[in-house]
């Protein structure tokens, strides 16, 4: 069996970083990354980007050396992706924050509102309901992170955790401050408004969960396969007929419900910002689907049926 030689050069300086001889033809990029780490332990595999061209796209971990357009001496270019952190860690941190922070405001912990309000309780039912909904939402997200989601990538750049946590924790504090404020004004249309909003919220939470489960079932454990998602027997998944990313659609719906329930402008602003970000993600995902699958259903829009 003919062995390959692999040399790894720095993509920017073209400096020779590593030379591997006697590499199996069926070796994967993942295995090569592991070999590279041996000589440069500070660059663990997750922060390595290896490519055939210094300015080209990263090779995937699953790519096999033999199948790449290289001679028996392969030249790979390395780029450092920077310190990495696992998706699971980021998700758990960014979701645990809002759960905890909201409760600080709900229980009116000292130094937030005036001292005479310390540890008092709101007299509005909707405030208690809002706390339950908000907490439920983030508990659901934490559980999904631990037990439901199957991630394509193991890691993301470290600086993302600071960015993401600032966003989630900041908004959570801002919303919670007003909803749990002693001078909070309940919704204009009273119980009617709250009931409608609660219905929207619950439906969208169930919908979002159904989509997460459907997406999970598309992909076997430990794999990174990608398939077109289709509606299942669960009616909540029928939204797949009209949108590529119904999980985002339901998520926006949940927050709109929460905004109507609390009639709180900061919640509406949070929903708007979230909607903007999710639309960008949905459009990206939609484009990826279109590129990857020739037979992708043409009726589907990225996030809002028929519109967006």
């Amino acid at each position: 069996m003919k062995h390959y030689e692999v040399e790894i050069l720095d993509a920017k300086t073209r400096e020779k970083l590593c030379f591997l001889d006697k590499v199996e033809p069926q070796a994967t990029i993942a295995e090569i990354k592991n070999l590279f780490t041996k000589s440069h332990p500070q660059w663990y595999p997750a922060r390595q980007s290896l490519r055939l061209d210094p300015k080209g796209k990263s090779l995937k971990d699953e790519d096999v050396l033999q199948k790449l357009p290289v001679g028996t001496t392969a030249t790979l270019y390395f780029r450092d992706l920077g310190a990495q952190i696992s998706w699971v860690t980021v998700f758990l941190t960014e979701y645990a924050g809002p759960l905890f922070i909201y409760l600080l405001f709900y229980f009116r912990v000292p130094f937030i509102y005036g001292h005479r309000y310390d540890f008092t309780s709101s007299r509005h039912t909707v405030v208690h309901l809002a706390c339950i909904c908000h907490s439920f939402h983030y508990v659901k997200r934490l559980l999904e992170t631990l037990f439901v989601h199957r991630f394509s990538h193991g890691t993301m750049p470290l600086r993302n955790i600071f960015k993401n946590c600032t966003y989630y924790w900041g908004f959570a504090a801002w919303m919670a401050y007003y909803i749990n404020h002693p001078l909070y004004t309940p919704p204009t249309y009273g119980a009617q408004q709250v009931k409608l909003a609660l219905a929207i919220f619950v439906i969208c939470q169930l919908g979002n969960f159904s989509i997460h489960m459907a997406l999970r079932d598309l992909r076997p454990a430990g794999s990174k396969t990608r398939k077109i998602p289709y509606p299942t027997k669960n009616p909540f998944t029928w939204l797949f007929l009209l949108v590529s990313c119904p999980n985002y659609t339901y998520e926006v719906g949940s927050w709109i419900g929460f905004a109507i329930m609390t009639q709180c402008l900061p919640v509406a602003l949070f929903s708007l910002v979230g909607f903007t970000q999710m639309t960008i993600w949905a459009k990206g995902k939609h484009c990826s689907y279109l590129k990857e699958f020739r037979d992708y259903p043409p009726l589907r829009m990225p996030i809002i049926p028929f519109l967006l």
Binding site: Y178, L183, Y184, T185, T188, T262, Q263, C264, L265, P266
Partner: protein
């Protein structure tokens, strides 16, 4: 910050009237440049803006000579100042449609901060209009903009006199701190009046469960100058070294 941000330059703007701030890379860019129609429009735009700021400059000088003092000159140039500074909002659109190779985000930030100072501070809080700090930033902006817009005009016509390039990359050393000082002092002067009148502020309780304290907001704006000003200033110094030494090199080989 608004003063300096606007002086922050891109490496010699060949085909466009672009501008850069702390974030713009100095690396190689695909030089497509705007088409002939866009170039004609941009030349007209930059000429008009140069003229506008010259009008403001002349207005200041005439008012000073007429009054005999440099106090309260704002009133004599209030209208053209508002018109031409607000007109700069068009530059955001120029970036958005791609006829100018600059970042929309950066340009928005720069123009918005100027517009904010003109309308949300100076116009809104009448009591600060007679402050000397207003004159400080108006002068800084006027000189900066005259140079900047003529720089773009000449660049578009591919005929940039070294003097203009030199001025753009040198005068900021004094003009930027001068402008920043004027801006900060003006915001500071506005504070007590904002507090007194509750300008642009909403308090609880209200049916949207929202509050906004413009006084606190202005203080946050002032604090934001601390990280932003040094970044932009040193970026300009760095650009100056690159652009002016590059020209020196060029001259050597001629």
């Amino acid at each position: 910050m608004a003063a300096g941000a606007a002086t922050a330059a891109a490496k010699g703007n060949g085909g466009g009237g672009g501008r850069a701030g702390a974030g713009e890379a100095g690396g190689a860019r695909k030089k497509k440049g705007p088409g002939p129609l866009a170039t004609a429009y941009l030349v007209i735009y930059n000429v008009v803006m140069t003229a506008g700021w010259l009008v403001i400059a002349v207005g200041l000088v005439r008012a000073y000579l007429a009054k005999g003092s440099y106090h309260s000159l704002y009133y004599s140039i209030e209208k053209p100042l508002k018109f031409f500074q607000t007109g700069a909002l068009l530059e955001i659109i120029h970036c958005a449609i791609g006829i100018v190779p600059s970042s929309v985000v950066l340009t928005s930030f720069q123009v918005m901060s100027r517009v904010f100072l003109i309308w949300a501070v100076t116009h809104s809080v009448k009591e600060v209009q007679s402050e000397d700090s207003v004159l400080l930033f108006v002068i800084a902006w006027t000189i900066t903009e005259i140079i900047r817009y003529s720089f773009y005009t000449f660049s578009l016509l591919n005929h940039l006199p070294y003097l203009i390039k030199w001025a753009r990359y040198t005068l900021f050393i004094v003009l930027y701190p001068m402008g920043v000082s004027g801006e900060l002092l003006t915001i500071y002067a506005a504070l007590p009046f904002v507090r007194q009148t509750g300008l642009y502020s909403i308090s609880l309780p209200n049916k949207y469960n929202f509050s906004f304290d413009y006084y606190a907001f202005l203080i946050l704006i002032m604090i934001s100058y601390i990280p932003i000003f040094p970044q932009l200033y040193f970026h300009m110094i760095h650009q100056r070294r690159k652009v002016l030494s590059h020209t020196e090199e060029h001259k050597k080989f001629e």
